[in-house]
Subunit: 254 residues, 2 copies
């Protein structure tokens, strides 16, 4: 079916399967997926179950897939069949798919009902009303430094810094890297297809590092000019989800 | 044609007009709009001209409009015909429309070519390569406190704080208000239709203010969990565009 994110997927469109069985298409419906795997939820075994809204389910790049990058799926990747729900948190792309159900309500499986919910900072696990949290689906803007790794020792001079940025259904328009803890910023260069959709946008920057402990930072902007929050404490939530503050890496330059 | 943002618009879909004249539909094309108004660009008179990409132009809520909220357009609002390009910077919704053109390239009118471009912080008006700036179209996540106004004096006790948030094509999922400069946050309540698209999402919060100079702050999150950057200096650009940091209002409580 072509490239979705950073892989080539082979499968059938979920929307074609829904049409083939005459499933209704109202935008207030949900499509639920059950996997063959059992998950441990607070000490109880439960079937892996998640759901997505019908409008997302009908998008043409939501697939029931059986091959990735030209090879049949391996067991680890969900063989024989798995969902591919681009841009959404990986949890919605159910593996080892055994059941698809059109429902009036989201899946009531614990993974859908109790996990992957975003709450404000003043809510705790004791006070959370799970029906009120924001269901985490689409992913916010984020960027990370992959090379060098945190704590690495490097020789002084020019160093290649590499990483990725991602912006759900938007284009990443700009990636900036600081080698002095955020005081000054340099523009990174994208190293892959600017038209690629849903996936990581990889970038690189050759920067000169002075001797000593250096503090590298990355921040991305999407096509609307949207930037990332600076500090993780501005997005604290008790479950620890979606920390998309600027990513920091400390290195020792010798 | 129904509600778009915070108004009811009457007009014809741009896509229907493009179809009626047999315009091509390739996604690498642009649709340019010329207005009857002349604008002053660095001392020279020029026609108002802008453009949008064909994919946006073909969206069903991009209109050529002649009435707003059931009344014919007034001159100030662009009579007799204007563009309505939802979610985009207002500059793309050309007023006093006199010409629509399908082009291989964006409009070369000065407004499109030289204005509304976003540059990194290290670029100045002297060093800007206008062909390299990000064309400002879709608007990033933002929120503002409208009431009380900055510098207002208020009686101590409970105060109603009001404002709006906006998130381009996404839903605003949460608005938080601090009445102590950002140390603690309270959840605002939305006061309009959560399904409304493209427009402001209005919110309100009844908060108790202590006597003295108080520092109110608002921040919004969209449906992906995306938050706003905290400080304006993290998004500085020489033209002063798209400052979407947390909005602050100082009041004196007596």
């Amino acid at each position: 079916m072509g490239a979705i994110g950073n892989a080539e997927w082979t499968g059938v469109r979920l929307s074609d399967v829904l049409d083939a069985v005459g499933a209704p298409d109202a935008s207030d419906l949900f499509v639920a997926f059950t996997g063959a795997d059992e998950v441990d939820v607070e000490g109880e075994e439960a079937s892996f179950g998640v759901s997505i809204a019908m409008d997302k389910a009908r998008q043409p790049d939501v697939l029931i897939a059986w091959a990735m990058n030209g090879e049949p799926l391996t067991p680890e990747h969900g063989a024989p069949l798995r969902m591919v729900v681009p841009g959404y948190a990986g949890v919605r792309s159910a593996k080892w798919l055994i059941r698809i159900e059109v429902r009036d309500t989201p899946s009531d499986a614990p993974i859908q009902a109790h996990d992957y919910k975003l709450f404000p900072a003043d809510v705790t696990s004791d006070t959370a009303d799970w029906s009120q949290g924001l269901t985490i689906n689409a992913m916010p803007l984020n960027a990370a430094i992959c090379v060098p790794g945190s704590g690495e020792s490097l020789p002084a001079g020019e160093v290649r810094i590499e990483g990725y940025a991602i912006a759900y259904d938007r284009r990443v328009s700009r990636v900036e890297v600081s080698v002095n803890g955020g005081r000054d910023w340099q523009q990174a260069t994208f190293t892959d297809d600017p038209e690629a959709h849903w996936g990581w946008r990889r970038w690189t920057l050759d920067a000169t590092l002075a001797k000593g402990r250096q503090h590298l930072v990355v921040r991305a902007f999407d096509e609307t000019g949207q930037g990332q929050p600076e500090r993780p404490d501005t997005m604290w939530n008790f479950a620890g989800y979606l920390c998309t503050a600027w990513h920091h890496v400390d290195v020792l330059v010798e």
